[in-house]
């Protein structure tokens, strides 16, 4: 393993913005120059007899350590937005930059590698493999980075400890509660020190109290310098995020931090 894809922060990709670079004015900086994820004029149309325009020109910059909620009714394009942010889907037109690199022109293998190294995902359905224990599921998040099994399991155990499941390492998903399963999924997303964690309705399958715990955990992760983008229709979840982006008909209806705006419009200021 090289230091480049090691367990620590990657200077070349983070472009100097580490946990110590974020502060009261670090947030401004994040919203400005040092975007970890950036969409410019992104459109997405699904072809068919009646083409569906899911995104109609979206510009969005996500800074390091930012906590962003993407809100909107179903059909507003928020899931498509998340998929495009996560490079799971390519835009019809427009540019997407991950840590400053334009990924539109990259091959499938290269984009996959960007996902494996830069991005973490949390899904509503958890997507844990039943035949693997908690450590195995979290280690899966590091599988495609080429480390050895002991390295991966060690990092996985560390990530599980961070999400408060240090005592559940050998449990299988069937032996865990819903909240615990989602914590395992979050550990999987952060085990490789992704610069952005993208969460698609992470509390959708959980009761309110458990969901609140998950939101608190995501907030905590952001405190460590990882940007968190949560797609949700739950206003309670959205309220816990410092920045809220509202989608309607494939466009951004409102953004509590307008691109280029130097002021933090709403939300709690970032703390280290």
């Amino acid at each position: 393993m090289t230091g480049h894809d090691g367990m620590g922060h990657d200077g070349t990709w983070q472009d100097g913005t580490g946990p110590d670079g974020t502060g009261p004015d670090g947030a401004v900086q994040a919203a400005g120059r040092d975007a970890v994820l950036e969409l410019v004029g992104v459109r997405k149309t699904y072809p068919g007899s009646a083409p569906v325009r899911a995104l109609a020109g979206v510009d969005l910059r996500i800074g390091a350590g930012e906590r962003v909620a993407v809100l909107g009714p179903s059909g507003s394009g928020k899931s498509t937005l998340l998929h495009i942010l996560g490079t799971l889907e390519r835009p019809t037109s427009g540019v997407i930059r991950v840590a400053g690199r334009d990924v539109s022109a990259l091959s499938d293998a290269e984009v996959s590698a960007v996902r494996g190294h830069q991005l973490g995902f949390v899904f509503q359905q958890f997507f844990l493999l039943d035949h693997l224990d908690a450590v195995g599921n979290v280690a899966l998040g590091l599988l495609y980075r080429g480390g050895s099994v002991p390295e991966r399991r060690l990092a996985a155990a560390g990530a599980l400890a961070r999400v408060g499941l240090g005592h559940r390492l050998a449990h299988r998903p069937q032996q865990l509660s819903g909240g615990e399963r989602q914590r395992v999924a979050i550990a999987r997303a952060i085990a490789g020190h992704a610069s952005v964690v993208l969460a698609d309705e992470p509390t959708g399958n959980l009761d309110t109290a458990t969901g609140a715990g998950i939101v608190a955990l995501l907030t905590e992760i952001a405190g460590d310098g990882t940007a968190v983008v949560v797609v949700t229709h739950d206003t309670g979840v959205a309220a816990a995020m410092e920045r809220r982006v509202e989608m309607r008909d494939g466009r951004i209806l409102s953004d509590t931090r307008q691109p280029g705006s130097a002021t933090v419009a709403a939300g709690t200021p970032l703390t280290t």
């Binding site: 799971l88 889907e89 293998a109 995902f121």
Partner: protein, 399 residues
């Protein structure tokens, strides 16, 4: 920005571990879908193993040296075996490398029946041979029931039945007083022989002593065939002098053959049945391969969310495809190894039941596993391609 492009890397060991884990988590399904290939490979290995074991047993029985020779005078104008000179046996015995000799005399027109009530036409194809008491020693045969003829019983109306002859007559054991109707008189059955692979004609014969054959059946002392064993390294030399020794007046009428050679050649050729079973095995493997492909396609459909997850975690198309390919190959390899084991067990059971030495041909084992691996590779190509073609969002949406 001059960042180094990251690359997705998946170690070969990790691919295998992932695939093995997936198969283990659906162990029953894996076992059942590997069964088809296992049955096919098992059939092939068992057929090859059984025929190899039989061949080995046969060769062991022949004595690796194959030193049995038979001497006959061909057939006379009626088609019956022609007679050899009365002196033939004695002359052959004087050839130094000859270890044992036994003459038999064919009794033309003599039939054996269970009782006089059975019509003469129902002879059952059993021939009657006069024999010397050295027959079993020379041919390497043995009695299954009772005893063989000895110097005493050879003088009296006693008969020993070959294995097939005894079956034809319906005689399975020889309690005292068992009789057969032979050339108009009752002969006491004193023994039944085990099959003699080197001289199948003995199996279909009823054997009586030369003295009684001469006295009561009008043989006249002429043997029609002489069996002899020589020292193993002198077979060729004895073969050459036999015609002149047996019948100096008409050496060209004397036929010498080595039944062990014939049998060995026949054993080597293998039977049509072997080919048939191999073909059936191949069909089973083919069907098994289709079954594996089928299961893999279903598996790809069922595990779309897992595929989507793996893609989200950084797996490339190729890595997702290779995992499914590895699963297919592993499934088939499982069938192949299981089949080889099953085939070896079947071979062993057969060989032990028929008291042969167990021979599981190693090439068949290697080929069996190799065939299974190739079938798995072929069966996995399409499902793997389907898995690889799936886009991450398509895969994640399918829940």
């Amino acid at each position: 920005m001059t960042a180094i492009m990251p690359r997705s890397r998946l170690r070969a060991g990790d691919t295998l571990r992932s695939s093995a884990g997936s198969l283990r988590s659906r162990a029953w399904r894996a076992a059942l879908s590997a069964l088809g290939i296992a049955i096919g490979i098992a059939a092939a290995v068992a057929v090859l193993g059984v025929s190899a074991s039989s061949r080995a047993a046969l060769l062991a029985e022949l004595g690796a040296e194959g030193n049995l020779l038979t001497v006959s005078a061909g057939q006379d104008f009626t088609g019956s075996p022609a007679a050899l000179p009365v002196t033939a046996t004695g002359m052959i015995r004087r050839i130094p490398p000859v270890q044992s000799v036994c003459a038999v005399g064919y009794l033309p027109g003599v039939t054996v029946r269970r009782t006089a009530a059975v019509p003469a036409i129902d002879s059952g194809g059993i021939s009657v041979l006069a024999t010397q008491t050295s027959l079993l020693r020379t041919l390497g045969g043995s009695v299954a029931r009772g005893t063989f003829l000895n110097a005493a019983t050879a003088r009296y109306p006693a008969v020993v039945l070959g294995a097939v002859a005894a079956q034809t007559l319906g005689i399975a054991r020889v309690p005292p007083g068992t009789q057969v109707y032979l050339a108009g008189q009752y002969f006491t059955v004193v023994g039944i022989l085990r099959p003699v692979p080197l001289a199948p004609e003995i199996d279909e014969a009823a054997l009586v002593g030369f003295p009684v054959a001469n006295a009561r059946l009008g043989l006249g002392g002429h043997p029609t065939e002489v069996y002899l064993r020589t020292e193993p390294d002198q077979v060729q030399a004895v073969d050459e002098v036999l015609p002149f020794t047996v019948n100096p007046a008409q050496p060209e009428g004397v036929q010498v053959s080595r039944p062990s050679q014939l049998l060995a050649a026949r054993a080597q050729a293998g039977s049509a049945l072997t080919g048939l079973f191999l073909a059936l095995g191949a069909v089973a493997v083919l069907v098994g391969g289709v079954g594996v492909a089928n299961i893999m396609v279903i598996s790809v459909l069922e595990r779309r969310s897992e595929i989507g997850l793996r893609r989200a975690l950084g797996a490339t198309r190729r890595q997702v495809g290779s995992q499914f390919l590895a699963e297919s190959v592993m499934l088939s390899a499982l069938g192949g190894v299981g089949g080889v084991v099953l085939g070896a067990v079947a071979t062993t059971a057969y060989a032990l039941a028929s008291r042969q030495s167990v021979v599981v041909p190693l090439p068949a084992v290697g080929e069996g596993v190799a065939v299974a691996l190739s079938v798995g590779l072929l069966a996995g190509v399409y499902p793997a391609a389907r898995a690889a073609r799936l886009t991450p969002t398509e895969a994640l949406r399918a829940t």
